[in-house]
């Protein structure tokens, strides 16, 4: 038997398997199920040899031509019929919270409604069933779609150029920093070894700068949650390649000094990278080009509603100012004599190379453009307005029972810290877990790092007032309950979920990262 990575096989703890005819200690039912919450074993625990969920024709009888390499003996996958597979994934899906089921106020993550029209458009055979290396003459519509998306992104940001290549936001950051380095190198300036990053930044910002070989220097925040302009100016110099700044920032605030920040960065010969994760707050109302930005990635899954899908796929186009426009990765679409063309190789020009296979996340481009067309200029104006209004409304209705970290107005999200829990014994984590029992996904917890016990709430524009009121009332009640001293209630939460407070420490100490056959299974199978 093959042991798994750290020598411990995956297993159902014996205590958790109810014996036949005996009620389960946790649920009180004989099955361990709880109404609509049905226990579901791993797919590997449902195997029957020879069973299969597809019907395939027999392979033609030919002599194999594997060049002397042996065919493998076995893979070790389980056999299930189609209805079993459907039931497996249906039951698993029912253990997820989703934006389709309710308010999902994860700050900085932008869980807004994902229109089904976008899904339908991405599945049109003319987009979904097109090979990336078909002759360019047979994919003119795909290139037109990329060109249209580029036009929308450039117009909405006011920037000179855009690359659609990056696969996700963090990948876009990498692209932006590569462009900045290319621009400095093109000027023969190799003395710039630092990137400045405010302490409220997403973790990807310092990780990206460091991955590109830069030293990361942190810029402190002022008492009102913004970048300390004087501290920034003091750090700017001929050794600084650029600034990475999120705007609106991760406290949900607009950087009031942004124009002065950009000017100071440019005066020092550096470039201004804006983390566009929060572009949804200002889209259609403010153009980053007017703020002095040189490069900014746009998370299509945030601002333009492509599905998060339990963690991806993302898509992270990057817009560039004139100064950085030549320093883009391949591929990109051009307007040729006989229609659209695709430049796939960097050649000797300033374009700096390739960041992934093929042409970017086409399936996400289609969804994003479908969202843009649905909204139009008027709808985007309204969407960012409603997003900001919803966040300010939540903040206004909670600030008497919770502690807002900074004075408003906020933008698309509002930040609270745990001062309101002081002396109660209840933590930010406890509030989050209790919120789960109330039927809500928790807000972002413990981020940004600039305040203690952060609770960052982003309602988005696709929530109704009734939905916000219900959420606000639940949070108000929980805040009062915490102040009332009911610590045990919070520490026992959540009570109503398929699983309760999982042991993350044990998971990291002795990682079990895959299923392995139970002890003796192979010997039994051989009998």
């Amino acid at each position: 038997m093959s042991m798994n990575s750290q020598g411990r096989p995956s297993a159902i703890p014996t205590a958790a398997i109810p014996a036949a005819g005996v009620a389960d200690a946790v649920t009180g039912t004989f099955t361990g199920n709880r109404g609509l919450q049905i226990e579901e074993p791993l797919i590997f625990e449902q195997d029957a040899a020879g069973r299969c969920g597809v019907d395939l024709p027999d392979a033609p009888k030919v002599a194999s031509r594997l060049g002397g390499v042996k065919p493998r003996a076995k893979v070790g996958l389980p056999g299930l019929a189609e209805p079993q597979v459907v039931r497996h994934y249906t039951r698993l899906s029912q253990k997820n919270y989703a934006i389709d089921s309710g308010l999902y106020p994860l700050g900085s993550c932008t869980m807004k409604h994902n229109p089904r029209l976008n899904e339908k458009m991405a599945r049109l055979p003319g987009f979904a069933d097109v090979h990336p290396l078909q002759p360019v003459s047979t994919v003119q519509g795909a290139l037109e779609l990329m060109d249209s998306l580029a036009h929308w992104l450039k117009t909405l940001t006011g920037m000179a150029a855009v690359t659609l290549a990056p696969a996700a936001g963090a990948h876009g950051e990498m692209c932006g920093i590569m462009a900045i380095r290319s621009a400095h190198e093109a000027k023969g300036d190799t003395a710039r070894t630092k990137i400045l990053v405010p302490e409220s930044a997403h973790g990807t910002n310092p990780a990206t700068a460091a991955a590109c070989g830069y030293a990361v220097e942190s810029i402190p925040a002022t008492a009102d949650g913004r970048v300390d302009l004087d501290a920034l100016k003091a750090k700017l110099g001929p050794d600084v390649a650029g600034l990475m700044l999120t705007n609106p920032n991760t406290c949900g605030l607009f950087e009031r000094d942004i124009i002065a920040i950009g000017e100071a960065v440019h005066a020092a010969g550096a470039y201004f990278y804006c983390d566009g994760a929060n572009f949804n707050a200002i889209v259609g109302r403010v153009r980053p080009a007017d703020l002095g930005v040189d490069a900014m990635h746009i998370n299509l899954h945030k601002t333009f509603s492509t599905p998060h899908g339990g963690g991806g796929p993302g898509s992270g186009p990057v817009v560039f100012s004139e100064a950085l426009a030549p320093y883009v990765p391949v591929p990109y679409v051009t307007h040729g004599a006989s229609g659209f063309d695709l430049v796939e190789n960097a050649g000797d020009g300033p374009a700096f190379g390739r960041m992934k296979a093929f042409h970017g996340q086409m399936g996400m481009f289609t969804r994003a453009l479908s969202y843009m067309l649905s909204h139009g200029a008027d709808g985007l104006w309204q969407a960012s307005g409603d997003a900001v209004l919803n966040a300010n409304y939540v903040m206004a209705r909670l600030e008497d029972v919770m502690t807002a970290s900074f004075e408003g107005p906020c933008m698309h999200e509002c930040l609270f810290d745990d001062r309101f829990l002081k002396g109660t014994g209840v933590t930010t984590l406890d509030i989050a877990k209790a919120l789960i029992d109330e039927g809500f996904h928790p807000m972002t917890m413990y981020f940004p790092l600039v305040v203690h016990g952060a609770l960052l709430i982003e309602p988005t524009e696709t929530e109704s007032k009734a939905s916000l009121d219900q959420f606000i009332d639940a949070l108000r009640a929980l805040a009062e309950r915490a102040k009332g001293g009911d610590v045990a209630y919070f520490q026992g939460a959540p009570r109503l979920t398929p699983r309760r407070r999982l042991d993350e420490t044990a998971a990291a100490r002795k990682p079990i990262l895959r299923w392995t056959p139970p002890v003796g299974a192979e010997a039994l199978a051989a009998e």
């Binding site: 969920g53 460091a210 067309l373 903040m395 979920t497």
Partner: protein
């Protein structure tokens, strides 16, 4: 606007609650000069569903859908039949519209899927452990090299001439900006290059692709032993994951890291993305891996459950000291992969792989019978290289005019070189009559 639930009355009462006169007032921290006074110019106003469908439908109609004609393109993206169940399950809102599973109590569905995905990838590659996926195969390849540099504390990667040029270029882009050497060997259509000669005491890793971009299969067991002796890691790239259903897996050959593209299972061609990168390693490297990992644990009631784990490697905890800046995986594409592999199971995956190989052998024989055409590879899975007496680019254009997508000219991947070579892929979706039509048309075009 159909996606916005607030009524004008709601807005007014909410503004009153925030003690603000107007929504525009909420934007007062934005410098006035940068605030637009109304909807942005130069873009159309909103459209209804029907109008959007017409608009995008017109664009889609300008493309030649691969499934509407005989299609033989591969080179890292393969047109397989995806069972109806896959896309139906992927579109369940609980999967589609969930976020990264940071709150495990309300994310056990996504987490168990990831745990099962990791197991499936480990089994297919023959490796000990896999992560919860990467952006795509090419970025997985580049991250594998970066990881090998970290593990060996060396800075020279040797890239085989059989490595897909997009994977090579993705890696060399990182090499330039991150600061390591990536020595790419010349293109190697027949798989005869001597990689062993390239490995020295500065080499962090050797990257090979199996089958190679030209379709050639090799056994890398000896190279694995040599790498081990020299303190370098062997990275095996796989761009056609279905080949793992038939061929000796990289883990059995002694690979230290496998970086693969998983698109073949569950995912449509999508003009090149989104796809799903697979990343698997030997046990001892688990803590050096990039990307998300899901692990098994117990909950407060002693029941088995799943959580994201070993996140101290990751950017949201480690910031500038993280193993990678990666923040997303390819969630939905990994789910599609996983469902398709579950439907296939042991019997299905073997049968499907054999079917692909047998059809490729049939087509190779049909094409070899066309005057002037020569098959370059002696061993292949479902894709092989053909030598033509004419420019492959011109031949492919001429075939497209006859409504046949006849493969990928090698010069598309190697600009200005080897334009007499054509990559041809065959899958279960190609019928006997597709293959005959291809051979007949090729004979016409070449005559």
């Amino acid at each position: 606007m159909r996606y916005l639930p607030l009524t004008e009355a709601d807005r007014q009462s909410m503004l009153a609650a925030t003690r603000t006169a107007s929504v525009n007032d909420l934007f007062r921290d934005v410098p006035e000069a940068a605030r637009l006074s109304g909807p942005i110019g130069g873009l159309p106003n909103h459209m209804g569903e029907l109008e959007v469908e017409r608009h995008l439908g017109a664009m889609a109609a300008k493309n030649l859908a691969a499934g509407s004609v005989p299609s033989f393109l591969g080179a890292g993206a393969y047109r397989h039949h995806v069972p109806a169940t896959v896309d139906h399950m992927v579109q369940r809102g609980e999967f589609l519209t969930a976020y990264t599973p940071y709150q495990p109590e309300v994310s056990q569905g996504t987490l168990q899927v990831l745990f099962e995905f990791q197991t499936q990838v480990s089994l297919l590659t023959g490796m000990d452990v896999a992560n919860a996926s990467m952006y795509d195969g090419a970025t997985a390849c580049a991250e594998a090299v970066i990881m090998a540099n970290r593990v060996t504390r060396r800075k020279k990667a040797v890239l085989s001439g059989g490595l897909h040029p997009h994977y090579r270029d993705t890696t060399t882009t990182d090499a330039r900006f991150i600061g390591f050497d990536a020595v790419a060997l010349p293109a190697d259509p027949t798989g005869i290059e001597d990689l062993a000669a390239q490995v020295d005491d500065k080499t962090s890793c050797v990257v090979v692709q199996n089958p190679s971009v030209f379709g050639q299969i090799r056994d890398y067991s000896d190279l694995a032993k040599l790498c081990q002796a020299k303190g370098a890691l062997l990275i095996v790239v796989v761009t056609e994951a279905l080949s793992l259903g038939l061929l000796t897996p990289p883990g059995e050959m002694g690979a230290d890291i496998v970086a693969a593209e998983g698109q073949s299972f569950g995912n449509a061609l999508n003009f090149g993305g989104p796809y799903v990168g697979l990343f698997a390693v030997k046990d001892k490297y688990v803590r050096q891996m990039p990307g998300r990992l899901c692990g098994e644990t117990l909950d407060a009631d002693g029941r088995r459950g799943f959580v994201l784990t070993l996140s101290t490697r990751e950017q949201h905890i480690r910031r500038e000291k993280a193993t990678s800046n990666i923040c997303t995986n390819a969630g939905l594409c990994a789910l599609a992969f996983s469902i398709h592999v579950s439907l296939l199971g042991e019997a299905g995956i073997t049968q499907l792989a054999q079917l692909n190989h047998a059809k490729a052998v049939q087509l190779a024989d049909k094409l070899a019978a066309v005057p002037g055409v020569e098959i370059v590879n002696d061993g292949f899975f479902n894709e092989f290289t053909v030598k033509l007496p004419k420019s492959a680019t011109a031949v492919v254009e001429a075939l497209a005019e006859r409504r046949i997508l006849g493969g990928v000219p090698v010069s598309r991947l190697y600009p200005g070189a080897m334009d007499d070579l054509l990559l041809v892929a065959v899958t279960e979706t190609n019928t006997e009559s597709d293959m005959d039509a291809f051979a007949t048309a090729l004979a016409e075009v070449l005559s």
